[in-house]
């Protein structure tokens, strides 16, 4: 194991950046109370995975894997692996669907709660919950 060598850092620079992006995204999702910011964080988190997959299939010096039409390809040419790239196309589509659904939900939440801050929503929901409890208490005998 060659920790803390320049090769360890620069040789894996794509993976380091993947981790930085992933953690940035996760932190925003967890740490921010604004629902739109949470979606932004989720997007950064997902983008980090795209980067992970895309750099995984790339070979240094490798070119786009397009098979020549005449069938005469040069065995000297290195091709990048297209499969992870194709996979991530699917994941990008899924990410777009998730983002749009999340934003649509935020619009509905704003219509109902008149705010998109998690803390304010929690206050409203707690009040509703307490109201239910008091109502239940006044009606019930066995609580």
């Amino acid at each position: 194991m060659h920790f803390f060598t320049s090769e360890f850092f620069f040789g894996h620079i794509n993976y380091w950046l993947f981790i930085v992006l992933m953690m940035t995204g996760l932190y925003i999702v967890i740490g921010k109370g604004n629902l739109v910011k949470k979606i932004v964080g989720l997007n950064i988190f997902q983008t980090s995975v795209f980067m992970f997959y895309i750099s995984m299939g790339k070979i240094s010096g490798g070119t786009a894997p397009i098979f020549p039409l005449d069938g005469k390809y040069d065995p000297e040419i290195a091709y990048s692996n297209p499969l992870p790239h194709v996979l991530i196309l699917t994941a990008i589509v899924v990410g777009i669907a998730t983002t749009s659904l999340g934003l649509a939900l935020i619009i509905r939440i704003r219509e109902e709660y008149h705010c998109i801050e998690e803390e304010e929503i929690t206050v409203i929901e707690d009040a509703v919950f307490r109201g239910e409890y008091l109502q239940a208490k006044s009606q019930g005998k066995t609580l």
């Binding site: 669907a97 998730t98 939900l105």
Partner: protein, 509 residues
């Protein structure tokens, strides 16, 4: 590549059953949207799910003897092409999903009609079918990335289905949003895990992965992949500390949606976990990394007690059942952790039995919501007298939840206790019984509310309509039937457990 002979001899319709299983609900869903008629939406959805159910029964009857059906999509041979593979384990889960869907739809007609405005009902049935397609696809596919795609199809439709509860309670929206965040993090973790496995092996076919992973168990890449997959799926399963999305989602979703999700969605995630832990990674890998000791045992036991304990103190029947679901997931994890044939059989049978039990209970809750307006204990006081048929079925479900002999729940808990004793872990078997006592408490509280307290309001409450009672009783009777007639469940679970424990050799033949 070119030298490989393509075995594409699927000529008759029955050879195409695995793909039809997915295609029928998948095509019916957009069909409903394009036709756009509310009156036609329900019949189309019902025909599609009933047909899927027939297909699932046919598939199960073909593989219950332990044989395997491999279907190559488009005639491309695996590992390069995508393969659908049906064996006893997933045929059983397919049977559960389609069976529940076929019974929930007749029930949903009245329930959805009262809980949702007219204009969204057409789309509701389309989404229901899409969700079902996703769950079926996750179960049937033998391609690891395909699992992710289908998982997201089912998840995205699930978020929307849960948000439909906002017409009754706006908290459904925040529940759906939180589930969206958690579910997406889970699915993305799963994809990262798959990426690591692909880096180590260069393949995505599960059987091929299993083969190429052997001998690489000490690789840091493979171990990281396993960890990501476990946490990602753990979020979907709602393994104890990752369960925070579940109670709100189940409580505020429309009753029909809760019934379907509680009976199928977490069960499918458990199946994926089984598939990855036992088929893709082998039991030998588990022996090397101490996953079972550090993760499965403690969290399974914690779930059994903490969630059951929380369930006791709920004021809302629906929320109580949601917490009890988390506790039951603990039992299933425990069966996996015991790492024996009996343990796995217990997990697989409990997966099925708990599916039908919870379906019966949540259907009952939906009937109470329809007639009394909510599922709070104070609202359903004394309903045992005014809604005798609904309440009787709910009590049968409750007994099965405890695991009273003669109900389906008894069989799986009995097997679980046996599996623990086989390993010599008698304290665990005591804990299983002790946590069942907690279930006795919360089910007794339900009995007390329904039968022994006086109704809170003077207004007369009618019995639930027949269209809801029939599916409810079908589920309740299934709880009893599978408690006595154990050949089907035991046979399928035994074949499934053996296939899973055999690992890749079971997948390659």
């Amino acid at each position: 590549m070119a030298t490989q002979t393509v075995h594409h001899t699927a000529m008759t319709l029955s050879d195409h059953l695995p793909i039809l299983q997915i295609l029928i609900p998948f095509i019916a869903a957009p069909l409903i949207v394009f036709i756009g008629q509310r009156k036609l939406a329900w019949p189309i959805a019902f025909i599609a799910s009933a047909t899927s159910f027939v297909i699932a029964c046919l598939l199960l009857s073909k593989v219950i003897d332990g044989s395997v059906i491999s279907y190559q999509i488009g005639g491309w041979a695996p590992p390069l092409g995508i393969e659908y593979r049906v064996d006893a384990a997933n045929a059983f889960v397919l049977f559960l999903i389609t069976g529940i869907a076929t019974l929930v739809l007749p029930y949903a007609r009245q329930s959805v009609g009262s809980e949702m405005p007219h204009k969204t009902q057409t789309l509701f049935y389309a989404l229901f079918l899409l969700c079902m397609t996703g769950l079926l696809g996750v179960t049937i596919t033998a391609d690891a990335f395909n699992v992710f795609v289908f998982l997201e199809i089912s998840s995205l439709s699930t978020y929307v289905l849960i948000a439909q509860g906002s017409y009754r309670d706006r908290r459904a929206l925040t529940a759906a949003f939180n589930y969206l965040i958690m579910g997406t993090i889970g699915a993305t973790f799963f994809v990262i895990g798959l990426g690591f496995l692909y880096m180590a092996t260069g393949t995505l076919n599960m059987a091929d992965l299993a083969d190429k992973l052997t001998g690489q168990y000490e690789s840091r890449t493979v171990q990281a992949g396993f960890a990501f997959i476990l946490v990602g799926m753990g979020l979907k399963v709602a393994i104890f500390p990752l369960h925070f999305w579940l109670p709100n989602a189940y409580t505020y979703a429309p009753s029909a949606v809760t019934t379907f999700l509680a009976a199928t969605a977490t069960k499918v995630a458990i199946y994926v976990l089984l598939r990855f832990v036992f088929s893709v990674f082998q039991p030998a890998f588990l022996a090397e990394t101490s996953t079972l000791e550090i993760i499965f045992y403690p969290f399974a036991l914690l779930a059994m007690f903490a969630a059951s304990f929380t369930a006791i103190f709920q004021r809302d029947l629906k929320r109580m059942l949601a917490y009890s679901s988390i506790a039951q997931i603990g039992y299933m994890l425990l069966g996996i952790a015991l790492l024996s044939e009996t343990g796995l059989m217990a997990t697989i049978i409990h997966l099925f039995n708990h599916g039908i039990t919870k379906a019966a209970l949540f259907m009952g809750v939906g009937a109470y919501v329809l007639r009394s307006g909510s599922s709070f204990y104070v609202q359903i006081q004394g309903l045992g007298k005014t809604m005798p048929w609904t309440s009787a079925a709910v009590i049968i479900g409750g007994l099965s939840l405890i695991g009273v002999p003669g109900t389906a729940g008894f069989l799986s808990k009995w097997l679980l206790v046996q599996a623990a004793l086989e390993q010599g872990y008698w304290p665990i078997s005591i804990l299983i019984v002790a946590s069942s006592l907690l279930a006795v408490i919360y089910v007794w509280r339900l009995v007390e509310t329904l039968y022994l307290s006086t109704p809170s309001s003077e207004q007369t409450i009618q019995e639930a309509p027949l269209s809801m009672l029939l599916p409810l009783w079908a589920m309740a009777l299934a709880c009893i039937y599978f408690g006595f007639e154990t050949d089907i469940t035991l046979g399928a679970a035994k074949a499934a457990a053996q296939a899973l424990l055999a690992g890749s050799s079971g997948m390659m033949n």
